[in-house]
Symmetry: C2
Subunit: 291 residues, 2 copies
């Protein structure tokens, strides 16, 4: 298929490479044009704008930083909406507001352009190894058409519901991990203060009701007080803000998530925004007199 | 081996039966004597007091409700300390205060009686099927001697450290599950308010960073707003109180755990204390206008 890919960040560039490898024709664009070069060397064409990239494409993927960036590349000057043909499918793989997602979809629909929201989890490692988890919202027929391209980027691809459902699912993911990281940080700190051998404790607990991905893969960071990437605090805080904004719109009570948002604000203020989000343990450790 | 078992509650009776099945000689005692009958029918002897049960035993197990109960059966009138021979090993499998555990161990040590703390997780199902997770604190030589009896009751048995370490590990377990249950309750409620098909959402998230035992096995309760047992709110609240008391003694900052303790107080006040602790979702759902 003819695929346009807008956004050559760490995630987007790796994902576009995997689409190329799967045998599709790929045209790329990035606001900072040099970032197109590595993917162009691997065989992609370059386009001067999102509009130009979208011309003639069957599928136009966006993977940019935040809600206003998606609005700009899709609906703005020289945006995708001006280049894409009727029947083309725009797939936004950024993590943005579910309600703005629905508005963008409605505007594209007026021109006959289809829209899917398909945010991912799995980080830069998942993007490189094509093992991303992809949560897709939109019409089933459009999801089916894009599946050959999505499956080039991810391992677990779930069509969760109509437009916006992918973004809501990603928001739910970020809400859940907020509380789980905090829970594990509290548990590890209690054990360290009690003088326990925490590797043994984690081993004793990992197979039971306290078991989680975070306990398996991030408790060691918290025990060592070292937070290599991972998933940056500032990116999670951005995603949590999307979730708490959605909660405000829908009237949802998220006390643990709100607490984590505040903890992350504090971490960013202190210069820890580019650490892995397991750095949440810094607050718990520090305020327990460990560091 | 000659084993005495004090406390024929739902957990203790099932655990004593499994020790019998493994071929050990078992003597049981319970404050309410009728509770001894089912295990006696299976071949156990009955004793009139903890002291009497402990006479001649190699290993004396206690599995009772709370810290004062352990103090009473071990150190009180007609207590284990008056019946057990020097060299016998007392194994407390209740969930109680780590600091009181160390004090009990010190008092027994003066009479040459050994002491292990070995709280469990895995619930009544784990007790029946002999699949409990057992977290053991104490001396390695004593742990080794009791292993034939412990392995009759549990699947995962970890010697986590010196006296009290088992109770601290259990407290860490209860701290971690506090935050994880709350996190999953918030995520499920956000999705329900957004109108998503939550079974699909759970399927999309379970394999990634948001994955946990609670998401796998308790999210359906929260989605359906039905909370069959499981693990009772009032028992978890008791254990969380042990953890927050330990945190007070050690100076540990546990904000999410404290929030959950308050939520559980509220649930118990409203008559939900005997539901599974996934009933935490009741507050989040209700306060989000779902129920």
């Amino acid at each position: 298929m003819k695929v346009a890919f807008i956004g050559m960040g760490t995630m987007g560039a790796a994902m576009a490479l995997n689409i190329l490898k799967a045998g599709h024709e790929v045209t790329v664009h990035n606001r900072t044009r040099e970032r197109e070069e590595p993917v162009a060397k691997a065989g992609a064409r370059r386009a001067g704008s999102p509009m130009e990239a979208a011309q003639g494409a069957d599928i136009v993927i966006t993977c940019v930083s935040d809600t206003p960036d998606v609005e700009a590349v899709v609906l703005g000057e020289n945006g995708i909406i001006q280049g894409a043909r009727a029947g083309a499918i725009v797939v936004d793989m950024s993590t943005i507001s579910p309600s703005v997602t629905r508005r963008i979809g409605a505007k594209l629909a007026k021109k006959g352009i289809r829209f899917l929201d398909a945010p991912v989890s799995g980080g830069s490692e998942g993007a490189q190894k094509a093992t991303l988890t992809i949560m897709v919202g939109g019409d089933a027929a459009d999801v089916a058409k894009t599946m050959p391209v999505l499956s080039a980027m991810g391992k677990s691809i779930t069509h969760v519901g109509p437009s916006g459902a992918g973004q809501f699912t990603k928001a739910i993911n970020q809400v859940i991990i907020s509380g789980v990281y905090l829970a594990v940080a509290e548990g590890m700190t209690l054990g360290l203060k009690a003088g326990l051998d925490m590797e043994k404790v984690v081993q004793a607990l990992a197979g039971g009701a306290a078991g989680s991905w975070v306990l398996n893969f991030r408790s060691t960071n918290m025990i060592k007080n070292e937070y290599p990437l991972g998933f940056r605090v500032r990116l999670h805080r951005k995603d949590v803000a999307i979730a708490t904004e959605a909660a405000r719109e829908l009237g949802v009570f998220l006390p643990a998530t709100a607490l984590v948002e505040q903890i992350e604000n504090g971490l960013i203020s202190q210069g820890f925004g580019d650490e892995d989000m397991s750095a949440m343990a810094r607050l718990i450790r520090k305020h327990s007199g460990l560091d």
